[in-house]
């Protein structure tokens, strides 16, 4: 594998991809819930491996993740991450059960969470694909509810092949009454990373 280092320009481009992707994902969520969903300005987080799970409560904190593999002209993965209280708010909106505060979920609620994650990730990916004019196929979504460190080891390892940091694009969105936070992590593999950059005019 040839030498490759991420520069400021690369990070700036990733931030912009995150901006566009999150914007589309949030608008899909808004349509799905038929509610106004606001979005804060996405933040790009450049994290040390040792601190990869700090933003979601530490490596042992339980998080919910939806994973979609990407193949075609671009290979890699996208993850949507959220914590149980946020997932509860989303589920309550879908099922019209605003008073439920349970942090465990029924089978039906779990499939709703997976579907919400799937729709948001798909919207993110389709805006990303048109931005770089490439065709992208996505895998069947998979969900894991487990330790944040274990889940985030998957994108961290991919970044680990090319860098000493992990790049996460954090998007926080909210409805009028409840705060719901979620994070998207888009991880292209190394050859795809280069294709993305050259599609956007950067070597």
């Amino acid at each position: 594998m040839e030498l490759f280092t991420l520069s400021d320009v690369h990070y700036e481009i990733m931030r912009e991809i995150g901006n566009i992707g999150c914007g589309h994902a949030v608008s899909a969520l808004s349509k799905m819930l038929n509610k106004k969903v606001g979005m804060k300005v996405p933040q790009v987080k450049l994290l040390e491996f040792g601190n990869v799970a700090g933003f979601v409560g530490g490596p042992e904190n339980t998080i919910i993740s939806i994973f979609i593999g990407i193949s075609g002209e671009i290979n890699g993965m996208i993850l949507f991450l959220t914590e149980q209280p946020s997932a509860r708010v989303l589920v309550n909106m879908v099922f019209g059960t605003p008073k439920n505060t349970e942090l465990s979920f029924s089978e039906m609620e779990l499939s709703a969470i997976q579907e919400i994650g799937n729709i948001m990730c798909s919207s993110y990916l389709s805006s990303f694909a048109s931005l770089i004019s490439k065709s992208i196929s996505q895998s069947v979504p998979d969900m894991s509810i487990d330790m944040a460190g274990a889940i985030l080891s998957v994108p961290a390892i991919e970044f680990g092949k090319i860098a000493e940091h992990v790049l996460f694009i954090e998007s926080v969105f909210s409805t009028e009454t409840d705060n719901v936070s979620g994070y998207f992590v888009l991880v292209p593999d190394l050859p795809s990373f280069k294709k993305i950059m050259s599609a956007l005019g950067v070597d």
Binding site: M1, E2, L3, F4, T5, E48, F49, G50, N51, V52, A53, G58, P59, E60, T62, F67, I68, G69, S71, N75, M77, S139, V140, D142, S144, I145, D146, M147, A148, G149, A150, I151, L152, S153, V154, A156, I157, E158, G160, K161, I162, A163, E164, D189
Partner: protein, 160 residues
Amino acid sequence: MTIIVGMADLKVTKEPSSMLTTLGLGSCVGIALYDAQSKVAGLAHIMLPDSTQIQNNKNIAKFADTALKKMISDMLLLGANKSLLKAKIAGGAQMFAFESLNPGMRIGERNIEAVRRQLKLYNIPILGQDVGLNYGRTVELYVNDGSFLIKTIGHGNKTV
């Protein structure tokens, strides 16, 4: 005292009241080494199988081969006897199903294979392990007796 080993990190100690821990191992592998006679212990949290496959390989604790080499030499400096070192390993999970379809991403499995291969090169026997499957693990290595506790969410805890 609890000594935390981060992702792509390794620590050694011979402080008998200490416990070395690494939290939330997914596809990464935790390698515990212990010399029961000198009671020198080491724990590494490796992310990738092989430093020679990656150009960007300065972070030696990130790779199975370089991390193990460094950990052994650090332990010898603390008085461990190389021929008495024993290993216990955990992690190497496949957190998501898609990873199994894409050979380049079956990193958990490749990490486990690499760790086993490296340990064999150094003639270090593996006394206990909890590897593979699809869930995260936190591990604790107790310096006083070398016991290795593996904790999970929803898949039980065990000591090897």
